[in-house]
């Protein structure tokens, strides 16, 4: 799962730093106790030396035992050998016993130091160390977070600018060339270059489509005029007439496609700057009436059109948009089907009965996509709808359920 850079960074720190610090604490504890033991041993030995020295001087007049300090014992021969090693006792002392020889008599001298203070000191030092380690951990994470936030700021700015970039809607793309970080300067430079190229390619493509469509108009006009002359030739047989009819239809479809492409290119090139309040209620009623006159078996209509609904846009484009939507609902209808048109402020819905489509609904809006391969349409109608809707920030929605197609347009 993806996380932000900062989250990732904090997570790494939170995983590895405590481990390192824990190992550090363990080592510290070992070394600390080692040093403390050593110190205790030295203390006990020093005490032994001093007491034995005092005993050799003052002899038996010295007390043989002082609680918590030392104990002197005469040893019988049977006594076993003892190792001169510090031993922790249950009574809260650490003791060291050594054998000494004075005037043929073997003595065992045991010296005491309290082990309570020693344990307290160890705990205190270790606790302080833990507090310092936690402080270090928190500081490292906080400093790291704030510094990385500052370091990565140019990157996030670049990311934001790139996110807002759209080759169609907002091709203007400006990134600061100086961020103070070489890598980001380079990133911005490369991105600016890349997007400059994208814009260039898109513009030349737009220009190409427009120029090509313009150039195609003339040969189309020539073909059409020759066909007009040809169908009036004397001695036309039924066979040639059929051929001519097919040519005429193909040529008309070509002209129609070309006109749609030209319109798309013009929308791309922002050649429809004039805007006005378009009365959609009137427009829809007119369009439906027109289409009803055009088709012999026009589907049954159910209209719920609220009056005085306006869109601020270019009137020709709005007409093209709704005309295409309605035509779509008519052409892709079932025989004896129906069309429902709902219009209210901010929303228009066109619903029609029709056959199932097998493709992904979103692809219907792509250029030259056809829901039905056999249909003699240009495959550009819905992509025009999408383009116009996009231009004015409207939302198009298509859904299909139980042989009912519905297009929703929110504006």
């Amino acid at each position: 799962m993806s996380k932000t850079l900062q989250q990732k960074n904090t997570r790494y720190l939170l995983t590895w730093l405590p481990i390192v610090l824990l190992i550090g604490s363990g080592l510290f504890f070992l070394i600390l106790t080692g040093h403390a033991d050593h110190m205790q041993e030295k203390q006990l030995e020093l005490k032994q030396q001093n007491i034995w020295k005092a005993f050799t001087v003052s002899g038996e007049s010295m007390p043989m035992k002082i609680e918590g300090e030392y104990a002197l014992q005469k040893m019988t021969a049977a006594s076993e050998q003892i190792k001169p090693k510090p031993i922790a006792t249950d009574s809260g002392y650490t003791i060291l016993s050594k054998q000494y020889l004075l005037n043929g008599q073997t003595y065992v001298l045991t010296t005491f130091v309290t082990s309570k203070e020693y344990t307290h000191l160890l705990i205190k030092v270790f606790a302080t160390e833990i507090i310092i380690f936690i402080l270090i951990l928190v500081t490292i994470i906080v400093v790291n977070r704030s510094s990385s936030r500052r370091l990565w700021r140019p990157f996030y700015e670049t990311l934001h600018a790139t996110g807002n970039y759209d080759v169609v809607q907002s091709p203007a793309f400006k990134l600061p060339p100086e961020t103070g970080i070489i890598e980001f300067d380079q990133l911005n430079k490369e991105l600016s270059l890349l997007i400059g190229n994208v814009n260039k390619a898109y513009n030349s493509q737009k220009q190409f489509v427009e120029n090509a469509s313009h150039e195609i108009q003339t040969p189309l006009a020539i073909i059409r005029s020759k066909l007009d002359l040809l169908i009036n030739e004397k001695g036309l047989t039924e066979g040639t007439a059929l051929l001519l009819s097919d040519i005429t239809q193909a040529n008309d479809r070509l002209s129609q496609m070309n006109k749609s492409l030209l319109l798309l290119a013009k929308i791309d090139n922002n050649q429809f700057p004039e805007m006005e309040q378009v009365n959609v209620s009137l427009l829809l009623n007119d369009l439906i009436a027109n289409y009803e006159a055009l088709y012999d078996n026009f589907p049954a209509t159910e209209l719920k059109i609220q009056e005085e609904v306006y869109i601020h846009a270019n009137p020709s484009l709005i007409e093209a948009l709704f005309s295409n939507l309605i035509k779509n609902a008519v052409v892709h209808n079932n025989p004896g089907g129906y069309i429902k048109v709902f219009l209210k402020k901010g929303e228009c819905m066109i619903e029609n009965s029709g056959q199932n489509i097998s493709t992904d609904p979103q692809t219907l809006f792509e250029r030259f996509h056809k829901g039905n391969a056999a249909s003699k349409t240009t495959g550009l109608g819905l992509s025009l709808v999408k383009q116009i809707a996009q231009l004015y920030g409207m939302k198009t929605d298509y859904s299909y359920l139980n042989d009912i197609h519905s297009f929703r347009l929110s504006f």
Binding site: Q217, T218, S225, D228, E238, A241, L244, S245, E274, K327
Partner: protein
């Protein structure tokens, strides 16, 4: 119609029920220009042709025409410039612009400069012909808005039709279809041309020519009821023709 050339202008006038119409076609595309000329020739127009701005100016200045068909993109200058020049020169010919540019502004600019009509390429020759005829009617037959073809009589301002002085009630579209066919009489007019004539640019969105068929069917039926013969013929699924 080469035989027509041998007939004196006077007899021609009576034959065509009017004087010879003179037409200047300024269009740089040879092939398209020849098509237009051929169509109008067959209709008894006298056609002059020009393929460039300079040639256009020269021909327009030298003679008086009834109508000029003007392309916008011309070698040597723009058709709009030529239009401006002619209007400033007090030339009053009817001018129809034919252009591949269909933007509203182009249309408005053209009409503002004094063009009488604007037709976008590609167009049907029958449509261009109907536009020219309508323009000539508007310009030269002031007040006379009655068209007569044998027993058919069309009142263009009231949009009514009588056959043998009997009123035939047609819808607006049926009237327009009939007028279009009559204007292009004795010629096959394609279904597409009829569709575009009635519904203009919007026909681009049509996948069906059903309505042309039903209009024709209705006109035929209504004329038959008044006793008119088979005036309207379908030609092999290509289109329709009125023979008089």
């Amino acid at each position: 119609m080469a035989w027509l050339n041998q007939i004196s202008p006077k007899s021609c006038r009576s034959l065509a029920q009017s004087r010879w119409m003179k037409l200047l076609i300024i269009e740089d595309e040879n092939s398209l220009r020849r098509s237009i000329a051929a169509y109008f020739d067959q209709e008894g127009f006298l056609c002059e042709q020009a393929g460039s701005y300079g040639e256009g100016v020269q021909k327009a200045e030298g003679f008086q025409y009834d109508c000029i068909i003007l392309d916008i993109n011309l070698p040597g200058g723009s058709g709009l410039q030529l239009l401006d020049y002619l209007r400033k020169d007090k030339k009053t010919e009817g001018i129809i612009i034919i252009s591949a540019r269909d933007a509203v502004e182009d249309r408005i600019t053209g009409l503002d400069l004094g063009a009488d009509d604007y037709l976008t390429k590609p167009f049907h020759l029958s449509e261009l012909f109907a536009r020219v005829k309508a323009l000539i009617r508007r310009k030269y037959a002031a007040g006379n808005n009655i068209l007569e073809f044998e027993k058919l009589k069309l009142d263009l301002s009231l949009k009514t039709l009588t056959y043998n002085s009997e009123q035939v009630s047609l819808t607006k579209n049926e009237f327009e279809v009939l007028l279009f066919l009559l204007t292009n009489k004795n010629r096959v007019v394609s279904r597409q041309a009829i569709a575009e004539h009635i519904y203009g640019e919007q026909t681009d969105n049509l996948a069906s020519f059903d309505f042309v068929y039903s209009h024709i069917k209705n006109i035929k039926r209504k004329l038959k009821e008044k006793g008119a013969g088979e005036l309207l013929q379908a030609v092999y699924g290509l289109g329709y023709k009125i023979s008089i």
